[in-house]
Symmetry: C2
Subunit: 306 residues, 2 copies
């Protein structure tokens, strides 16, 4: 790839542009906020201008709800031969792109699985996607060249392209990213009900479990809202698990007979053991295979230490 454009020079767009520049790709930076594009250019991420001729690939790196409109605008303006995006949700933007008359043959959805809590170009890093999966969700309309260029983009950023269907992607991130974000936020929100003397006892564990809650509320309202049914499904199941534990705890608080206590304790213990087993299924960073859907072997690794 010799030329590319990045539309949206926030954390993700600027990180992609920095990686492309590092690999010698002529990269144009476009943002509705010209100041953001200039900042990214000053960081060495590329040229804060529109290209005079269509580039090979444009990356639409804007929040999910703006993807379809930006795609349509820049396809009409002939910004690039092919297009991809970088949003955390894939089904809804694709549907909107179809509805608003985008050229779907020249578009393949993408989601680089990397990020930080900070946002904006100043938080960007050229290695943000190193060793991470980069999901690509071609539609039946997508032409082969667009997919090939999107795969090349992932490789240039040091990531590992993984082809999935859109709905499968959205269910996967609902489980591994979106529902955990909600849980982390609600747990952190509970702390508003604590006394300062109670919060003084907080340790590293609480800081870890609420770390995701630090993300931008505006961006996450968009992400969660764009994947609402899948996230609601995971959270509804989680709520059922929670009810059972609350029930076991209430039982432990009131049971008088040792056998009753033991039965409630067993339910509690089972839930905790399932947590240990579930945690062991998280692949250790950087160990995944290069094959697309068959990520099997790496998933058997033990959980990391503290």
């Amino acid at each position: 790839m010799r030329s590319a454009a990045v539309v949206g020079t926030g954390l993700i767009g600027t990180s992609i542009a920095l990686a492309l520049r590092g690999r010698g790709v002529t990269t144009y930076l476009i943002d509705t906020d010209p100041e953001a594009a200039r900042t990214a250019a000053e960081l060495g991420a590329g040229i804060a201008e529109r290209p005079r001729q269509p580039v090979e690939l444009a990356v639409i790196a804007v929040p999910p709800q703006y993807v379809a409109a930006a795609l349509r605008e820049h396809q009409l303006a002939d910004l690039a031969e092919d297009f991809t995006d970088a949003a955390s949700v894939k089904e809804l933007p694709q549907r909107e792109a179809a509805r608003t008359g985008c050229d779907l043959t020249r578009f393949v959805g993408g989601h680089p699985m990397g990020g930080r809590e900070q946002s904006g170009p100043l938080a960007a890093r050229d290695d943000l996607f190193h060793g991470r999966p980069w999901v690509l969700t071609p539609s039946p309309e997508s032409r082969a060249q667009t997919l090939a260029r999107a795969e090349e983009l992932a490789g240039l950023c040091g990531a590992r392209p993984v082809v999935m269907c859109q709905a499968e992607h959205d269910r996967a991130v609902a489980l591994t990213s979106h529902a955990p974000h909600v849980v982390s936020s609600l747990l952190a929100g509970r702390l508003l009900h604590g006394e300062p003397s109670q919060l003084g006892l907080a340790g590293q564990g609480l800081a870890d479990v609420t770390r995701l809650a630090g993300g931008s509320a505006e961006l996450w309202t968009d992400i969660l809202g764009s994947n609402a049914p899948a996230v609601a499904d995971v959270l509804a199941e989680f709520t059922r698990d929670l009810h059972q534990v609350v029930d076991a705890l209430r039982g432990l608080g009131s049971a008088r007979e040792p056998e009753q206590r033991r039965a409630h304790a067993d339910r509690l213990s089972t839930a905790l053991v399932r947590g240990i087993q579930g945690r062991a299924r998280i692949p250790a960073r950087g160990t995944s295979t290069t094959a697309a859907p068959g990520l099997g072997p790496a998933l058997a690794t033990a959980p990391r230490g503290v």
Copy 2:
């Protein structure tokens, strides 16, 4: 303090003993598993024997359900002049100690607020409690000398003594430690329902939010069961918050009118903003004041970066 005994040479007991030895206190190590006591002694944590004469202070460092029995046994055997413990729950062990006829004048409950996921003497560190709060929960029966010695113990371990009443402590840790542990475990348990290809997309955020889930199921069943009503109360409130978010997400998934969508998105956004605000209330590590209940000023600090 010149002499001490640690009963229970797991992670917490051995870490306390290592700190005491480092400050020149003659420390005796006792465990129902003699191998654990010998291991701790080999690590330099003290002498794996019973003292010939009563030591000044004995620390009962066993899981909550065993505290009262161990206290009674070692008070009857005249192990020490004064006693404290290190369990994560304070009200129930105190009640059991009263019921089983322990000498409450010579006991002050304690909870050093430090830990790791690993357990056992080999995971111990002499700086595990450096800069951390060490809660002390004297009862009306406790004599002044016992409290003074427990405070000295905390200081020798580099921790900051914080005096609280037992119920207040138990409510505080339900909010800041026990409920978060359950939430982390149940979220990790949800991953057992994911396909390997879904889990392949997991990132650092999921690893962080499920880190607590790696703790010992046996120990945590005891801790949670010993503080069951307070933990159930926090989780019941959390469940209500969760229902509201699921409801907003279902609404977003089905609403057709922009105004309806906006109302649901606003509810979602409010929950996320509350998470950001709640997270900002977690004191940054090592910044808390030395005053006991007035931990005010340090709590206004901003949340840590990633």
